[in-house]
């Protein structure tokens, strides 16, 4: 499952809030860090420290010289912009409606880092609250094309139930792979499930499988 994201690949991880998209995304990112790849984690709902805490909770190795953050979550509380913390390699953005700032941050990190860049966008959904849908879709399309041309990859999490189907379909159309997560009420016990809806260029069985998130990591049953 961790091999889902490879060079020049784009992936959407879709499901309701709380189902485990962030953990799934961090797990994939941690795997890339373990392979000595460069990871840029764009966080829009939680501050970078909170992301690191989630990583610790699932046993993911989420440190290193090759890990960068774009913090799009702290704009309402932070007064600083730009390189907030050199040691932790965080670029903090202040304007939630400026998609250009995110593009610039990605470009900056792409130029300053060595090797191919793997971007993890967790999550894309808040961007739609401050920009019209068409603008965000175009932004992601451009970002995917840019990363692909440089041999990089991108994984994007998307909240279920907060976007019109037309917007979701536009995003689906432009990515290589689509992973779906859901809650299942199994006779009173709430379980998580995952299915690989499609992966361009790969044969997949789109059946629902159990997903367990523990302190040792994620397990697909």
């Amino acid at each position: 499952m961790k091999e889902l994201l490879h060079d020049e690949y784009s992936l959407i991880i879709h499901g309701p809030p709380g189902v485990g998209k962030r953990e799934f995304c961090i797990d994939l990112a941690g795997y890339q860090l373990g392979k000595k790849s460069t990871v840029l984690y764009v966080t829009t709902e939680r501050a970078p420290n909170s992301i690191k805490e989630v990583a610790r909770n699932i046993g993911a190795v989420f440190v290193g010289e090759r890990l960068f953050f774009v913090d799009y979550a702290s704009w309402s509380t932070s007064k600083k912009t730009g390189w907030l913390d050199d040691r932790m390699k965080i670029i903090c953005l202040q304007n939630p409606s400026s998609l250009r700032d995110i593009s610039m941050a990605v470009k900056t990190i792409s130029q300053t880092s060595t090797g191919r860049l793997n971007v993890f966008f967790d999550s894309l959904s808040p961007l739609f609250l401050y920009n019209n849908d068409e603008k965000v879709v175009q932004f992601i399309q451009t970002l995917i094309a840019q990363l692909r041309s440089e041999g990089g990859s991108i994984a994007v999490t998307l909240q279920e139930g907060v976007h019109p189907p037309s917007t979701f379909n536009s995003l689906m159309y432009m990515v290589d792979g689509y992973i779906q997560l859901r809650f299942l009420d199994d006779g009173g016990a709430i379980k998580r499930q995952l299915r690989v809806h499609h992966l361009h260029g790969k044969r997949v069985q789109p059946e629902w499988r159990g997903l367990e998130i523990t302190e040792k990591g994620l397990e697909v049953l």
Binding site: P17, P126, Q159, G161, V162, S166, L184, I190
Partner: protein
């Protein structure tokens, strides 16, 4: 506020939300929902779509058109909505979220929290 013409559904949703620490109002129709919103400050409405009288889409559209209610977010509750229904919830009515019935408590609470935390209203 929970808006649904079925008292049983209102009861279950109220219990779920109160269990998570929310203060919950109830309304049995779109018309009554608008009357309550005139008097009470409500952060979030869970709105059933299919109701006698004014349906959930029309009620949500009225909420969105009322400048005084711009802080009020709306999540639509539907039974197996197709894409056309969901599109209508977001684009025509202007809802902030959508949940399909039957409702899974974890999903409901997480979606409510996400909308309350993330959908910020300027001004």
């Amino acid at each position: 506020m929970v808006v649904d013409d079925e008292p049983g559904i209102r009861f279950i949703l109220r219990k779920m939300l109160e269990g998570a620490g929310y203060k919950v109002l109830e309304s049995e129709s779109g018309e009554e929902c608008l009357e309550i919103l005139d008097k009470e400050k409500v952060n979030l409405v869970l709105m059933d779509v299919m109701m006698p009288g004014m349906n959930g889409w029309e009620t949500t559209k009225r909420i969105r058109e009322n400048e005084a209610l711009k802080i009020t977010k709306v999540i639509m509750l539907t039974v197996r909505a197709d894409e056309e229904d969901m599109e209508k919830s977001f684009q025509y009515a202007g809802s902030n979220g959508h949940i399909n019935k039957p409702i899974v408590m974890e999903q409901l609470l997480a979606t409510v929290k996400w909308v309350l935390d993330n959908v910020r209203v300027e001004g």
